[in-house]
């Protein structure tokens, strides 16, 4: 059942992402992108990442996409002809995107199961189980403390410095956006 729901949302995400790329009007492309992000949020929930799923819908489908919509409305682009590149651009796109697809497909052979087998087979590793204990530990922590309670301790202990740097980054982004968008500084 869960797998069927996953594949439905995966199909929605892929189709709306493709429509986003091929849609001529920016607003239409944006609506398709919001659809893809909502489907991705549902997929995050299916993959046990409930917190990230909620953040995805709040921050991405909510805040960032509304920001894009505001800019599109603000610029008042009017009706323009298609902005898709010419035949040379399409050929380059097919070649480069195909190369990336082949590279990412090559990773398919290196599935986590195979890595696990190789880790287990090698004599150098001390404990075979220890290599992938994180997932089970995370599930136990989620069962004990809830979804947010499992994420909070590492965020404010091990990842405290990146978290603080994030606040500086956001401050710099706010200042930069205001300075860039002002007419006269």
């Amino acid at each position: 059942m869960t797998e069927a729901v996953f594949y439905v949302f995966a199909a929605v995400a892929v189709i709306s992402a493709a429509c986003c790329v091929l849609q001529r009007s920016p607003v239409g492309a944006l609506i398709f992108l919001v659809q893809a992000m909502l489907a991705l949020g549902a997929i995050f929930v299916i993959l046990q990442g409930q917190f990230i799923g909620v953040i995805q819908i709040l921050v991405y489908a909510g805040a960032i996409m509304v920001l894009f919509l505001f800019i599109i409305m603000l610029l008042n682009l009017g009706r323009t002809s298609s902005d898709i590149r010419g035949p040379a651009g399409i050929a380059a796109t097919i070649v480069l995107a195909g190369l990336i697809a082949v590279e990412l497909g090559g990773l398919w052979a290196y599935s986590p199961a195979r890595i696990g087998r190789e880790v287990r087979g090698s004599a150098g590793m001390i404990q075979a189980q220890a290599a992938f204990a994180g997932g089970e530990a995370a599930q136990r922590a989620t069962a004990a403390h809830g979804v947010v309670g499992a994420i909070a301790p590492p965020l404010f202990n091990e990842y405290l410095v990146p978290f603080e740097i994030t606040s500086i980054l956001l401050l710099a982004a706010i200042v930069g956006a205001v300075v860039l968008a002002k007419r006269k500084v």
Binding site: A13, V21, A36
Partner: protein, 98 residues
């Protein structure tokens, strides 16, 4: 556990994002395709969190923060470019062309 299918979906969405960046000339649509690529990477992190633990969720969380900052600054740049050229078609923006 759906790890393999999720990673496959992530690869497909990333490739669609790359194709969009290469295919479009509208700067805003290009930005939207970059957001799509960031989202695809987030999906890979969330899928791998089932194997590697909570740290992967936190990386996805930080990626989202960086994406928000990038969207704010990038859209401000697009606004400034539009004031200069009255267009956001990348064909008309060739100031650094030499």
């Amino acid at each position: 556990m759906l790890l393999g299918p999720a990673l496959g979906l992530s690869a497909i969405l990333f490739t669609i994002g790359v194709a969009g960046v290469l295919l479009r000339r509208n700067a805003i649509v290009l930005f939207m395709c970059v957001e799509l690529m960031l989202n695809a990477v987030n999906l890979a992190f969330v899928a791998l969190a089932q194997v590697y633990g909570v740290g992967a969720y936190l990386i996805a969380f930080f990626v989202m923060t960086v994406a928000a900052a990038e969207a704010a600054v990038g859209l401000a740049i697009i606004l400034a470019v539009f004031r200069h050229h009255q267009s956001i078609d990348l064909q008309n923006i060739n100031l650094l062309h030499g």
